[in-house]
Each structure stands twice: as structure tokens, then as C-alpha cells.
Symmetry: C2
Subunit: 304 residues, 2 copies
DNA sequence: AAAAGCGTTGCGGTTTTTGCAACACGGCTG
DNA sequence: CAGCCGTGTTGCAAAAACCGCAACGCTTTT
């Protein structure tokens, strides 16, 4: 088709052969084959200057539209390669919402303008499902339930803390035992949250059960309960950063070793290779959210 | 690109190979080459079900648009083949305007709906130029000035008549000599018209000159002059059909042999092959306008 | 009447494409 | 954890498509 257009522009096949730097016979053949495929004559034979039939005009019109479409595709691909467009989908636990995340995402979106970012907040169970369905590029969550197809890109220890009202009798303590915790009124998340699951397991270890007086899937709600003294809650320190800095609540380490070696992971589907910009976002999140992260590496999350 | 789309639809390269009936290796190679040409990975390697990258989606989106465009082209070409669309351009001398032409064109346009028809009315000189420039498919005119590149598809003898007011003293005559004509007041067309040229030549043959009292490029105007008696004019009989049938004027044969053997031609550029529907129009015009036409054949118009 | 330009066609050599088979890798099942 | 099934990939040889060269027929031009 390109040769047809060039032949028409040049006025003759031979002139086109000069421009395209191919033999005239090749041009003649290509046009002849095109005519055979289409089943209609494209050029008016026997005219001193090459003339196109109506069908010929229709063909080159189609071809030119095709070319502009291709140029548009090229531009789109170039944008894609430069990550000036595209989609990044990530999912995280609510505990990670806060200034650190905001700053990281702000910087990222500034570095990659035109890139569409989608952030979803759910509990750990749903996070695994989203990762398995490839509905999301990666997720940030607590020590997730193991799954053979989900791997951890990075991990950082984030000890769980008891979050207590500042005026609470135990607020000045240096540490709290899990057993003591079970005796206190608690405000905890639902059991689809991995933190809650770990608390339940640890309590079962010492023959106790967790019976919170308040349950919610909103971390902000839990912190509020702790702040006004309706019950203590359990969270990583950074999840309650704002009220902590205002002195309204205090964070007391939980002595139980099992709850001290809790890790936060950046999770992805196994063997899924990311575009550069998405990997870059993972690195930024590690630096911003997990400053104490271990050296990057694929740590399988199938211990338990 | 087609294989990429099919692979995506089928979910795997092998399934696509089944559908397309080619070896899986071919599909793998084609996609790999496409990736090499584009410079970006199109499919996410290492996923149980074949997944496309953003670039991959962009490519198949382009391809599908390309396909719909091609379908539209095919439909257009099919219309063209059936002559349901297209252009027909013809040129004719003004003498041919009339009911016969109208009926012919009406039938033709009814037979080929959607076909665009362009009719141009000029004198013989311009008609030749239009034919040479390929600006028109064919023309209908009087015995044209010869040109090596213009040939006659059909021809029909149309004796020239003197058109005279019914009340004129000579109106009852059976014939008129050219010499008599020169003595009468005449209303004739400009000398760019072939009829006028032939009259001038015939007059020169007998040592006379034509000196019309009225000159115009409008045949209707000439007839009107004859009807009201300002002068007689010279035309083929059918050019004055309407006023003749109303009895306002009469047509008297001109005895001069040279003017009795005048032919009307359907003219086209030499070696120009027409689409079927255009040739059909030529045939229809022959039947409608030249009922006494000679058998079709390429008569060269280079006698003199 | 000759010369120049055009498109077309036969033929060889080269490049590209294809299918078959074997291979390497990941995912599922017992 | 091993084994099996399915996947995509790679060598290699055969087939097809393509290209350039040269010659031919045809039309237009001088």
C-alpha cells in the first residue's frame, strides 16, 4: 500500500522506485498483488501519468488513516516507555494511611506525571485475593497469611504496641504483658485483619481469649476509642503517629516475643515482573514506610 | 499483530495456534519480533494465563481499530464494484440537452443509485481539452476536430437542418441550398462550436462566407431567434425538437452533401478503460440520443 | 520513423517465514 | 516433595516470499 501511495505521489512507478530505492518491478508486483487481493483494479492502465481508480483512492485513503493511527500508537508507546502514562494499582492495609504514605505518593506522582495511580485499602485477606487475581500490582500489609503464589519484596520489623489513653493508670509503664492486655477492655479490628489474627493466636498460646469491647474495620475509630479511654488497642507505632505526637495517647511495647517480631511486607505476585516505574514505587514505599527494612530480596512468606 | 490479539483472546499461544492453524513457534516468534520492532514487552511473561502489558493493550487496540477501518474499506470497495457509488463525469454539447437526454440520465441514475453524476455542457473545443485532461469520462459532441488521443466509441449521422420560422416564405420548401442560406439573415453559434466551423468550411468551399446577424453560445437563444423570425439557424433536427413539435418552426434539409454527412460521436480518451457502469452509460446514451448509431467500434477520428 | 518513457514478466539469488522436534520453566496434584 | 501436564522458547531444515537484473511490449513524443 505504501508503494501505491508513493507511486501516486510520484506520478509513475519508476519515479516511486527512485524515491523508495527499490526496483520498478517490485513496485509493479506489489501493486498487482494488492489488486489481486482486493479483487479490483487500483490504477488506470494506459495513462501517461499514473491515475488511480475510485477504488485506488479509497485504498490510499484507508492507508493514510492507518498511518496516522500508527503514529498515534507510537506516541502512546513512547509515553508508556517513559512511564508518562499507565496504571499503577496498589493495595494496603488501613494502618499505613498517614503522612508518610502521603509524602511518598506525592513525590512519586510528581516524578511520573500522567501516570494513573489507584490505591485500595482493605484487610489482609482481601489483599491476598487481589494479588492472586492480578488486580493489583503490589500491596503493603502485615505479615500476611502464607500463600505459595505471593512473595515479599521487602519486609521490616514493626513491633506491635498497646495504644493507651495518656491518663490511663498503665500509661507510664515501660511494657505490657499480653496476659495483662486480655484483662483490659480492648478496641480491636475485625478478625479479617492480620493483626487481629496474630493477637488471637498469641492469646490462645497462653490459654486466654481476646474479647474486645469494641470492634471495627476502621483504624481511626480504634484510635479514637483509645484516646477517649473506652479501651486500649494494639497497633504498630506509626499507625497512631498523629495522636501520639499530640500526647493524647501513649504506645507501650508488648512484651510477648511473638508480637515483637511482626513484620510489614511489600507483597507481590510470584514471578510477576514489574515495569520500572512500578518497581520504583515499591522502593519509594520501602524507604518511606519501612525505614528499617531489610535488604531487598525475595523472601518467601511460607514460614507458618 | 493478529496473532497477538488471537493469543490474548484464546488465553495462550498454543490455543491461538489451534485457532489460526499455525505452529505455536510461529506465534511466539511473531510476537517476539513485534516486541523487538516496538521496543517494548507486550505480554507479561510467566503468568499462567497470558496477560498483556499496557503497551500490549495499546497495540491490540490499534490493531482492532485498523481492522474495523479495513472492513469499512472492504464495504466501500464492494459498493464500488457494484457501482453503488462512484463518479461519472460526462460532457456534451448544448444541442443534446432535451427530453431524450433527460430520460436516459433518469433511467441510468435509477439503475445505479448512489452514483454521482456530473454533466458539463460546453463547446467542442473545450470538450477535447477536458477529454485529454482526463477530467471527464466521455463526451457527446458533433464531429469533433481530430486529435490523435481522442477516439469515437459510437457515431450516428445527424443531418443538419435549417431551422426556419413556420411563416417564412421558404418554410414550405423541401430542401435548401447552402448558397441560399448565405443570403438569408442567420442566427448561429460561436465559432468554437463544431457546427459553426463546418458551416464556415462548407461556405468557403463554394466561395461564400457566413455572416450571421446574431451570434450566441446558447442554442436555446438561436432557436428563439428562428421562431420569432429574426433569422434562420442551422441545427440537427433533435436539437429543436420541442419548437418543431409545436409547429412554430420547421426544419428544412440542407442539400450540401458535406453537411448531410455530419456525425454525432460519443468520444473518449484513447485506451482509457472504463468501469462497467460508465460503459453502460455510454451504451444508454447511444440508444437514447443516437438511435441510428452505427455498430459500436473504435473509429479513429483522424480523417482530417 | 525513431527514440524515450512506461509497466510488465522470467529468472536467479537472497531473505524471511514456517513446521517439526526438543528443550526449559512454572503450576497443579497426589 | 516429586511427578506430570501445560506453557513458551529455540535449532534446524524445508518452503515460500521477495528482490534486483535484464529483456520485452506498449505508448507517447520528437
Amino acid at each position: 500500500m505504501g508503494v501505491l501511495l508513493q507511486a501516486w505521489r510520484s506520478g509513475s512507478m519508476r519515479a516511486a522506485s527512485d524515491v523508495l530505492d527499490v526496483a520498478p518491478s517490485s513496485i509493479s508486483r506489489q501493486i498487482a498483488q494488492l489488486e489481486r487481493e482486493i479483487g479490483a483494479t487500483l490504477i488506470e492502465h494506459g495513462a501517461r501519468q499514473l491515475r488511480l481508480t475510485e477504488a485506488g483512492y479509497a485504498v490510499i485513503e484507508y492507508y493514510r488513516a492507518r498511518q496516522t493511527g500508527l503514529e498515534s500508537l507510537d506516541a502512546q508507546l513512547q509515553d508508556l516507555a517513559a512511564a508518562r502514562t499507565g496504571n499503577v494499582q496498589l493495595v494496603l492495609g488501613e494502618g499505613f494511611l498517614g503522612p508518610a504514605l502521603d509524602d511518598t505518593l506525592d513525590d512519586f506522582m510528581l516524578a511520573y506525571p500522567g501516570l494513573k495511580l489507584s490505591v485500595r485499602v482493605t484487610d489482609t485477606t482481601r489483599m491476598i485475593k487481589l494479588l492472586l487475581d492480578d488486580a493489583v500490582h503490589f500491596g503493603v500489609g502485615f505479615h500476611p497469611a502464607s500463600h505459595p503464589q505471593v512473595v515479599s519484596l521487602y519486609r521490616a520489623p514493626v513491633p506491635l504496641m498497646a495504644i493507651i489513653q495518656a491518663s490511663h493508670p498503665m500509661a507510664k509503664r515501660d511494657s505490657i504483658e499480653l496476659a495483662e492486655l486480655c484483662d483490659q477492655p480492648l478496641a480491636l479490628m475485625e478478625s479479617s485483619f492480620r493483626i487481629r489474627q496474630m493477637l488471637d493466636e498469641a492469646a490462645a498460646d497462653i490459654g486466654r481469649i481476646i474479647a474486645p469491647v469494641f470492634t471495627s474495620n476502621s483504624i481511626a475509630m480504634l484510635i479514637r476509642m483509645a484516646r477517649v479511654g473506652h479501651g486500649m488497642t494494639v497497633l504498630p507505632e506509626f499507625s497512631a503517629k498523629a495522636p501520639l505526637s499530640q500526647g493524647e495517647v501513649r504506645a507501650i511495647p508488648l512484651l510477648t516475643p511473638r508480637l515483637q517480631s511482626v513484620y510489614v511486607h511489600i507483597l507481590a505476585r510470584r514471578n510477576r515482573q514489574m515495569p520500572h516505574h512500578i518497581e520504583d514505587l515499591a522502593v519509594r514505599l520501602r524507604k518511606g514506610l519501612l525505614p528499617s527494612a531489610l535488604a531487598p530480596g525475595i523472601d518467601d512468606t511460607t514460614p507458618s
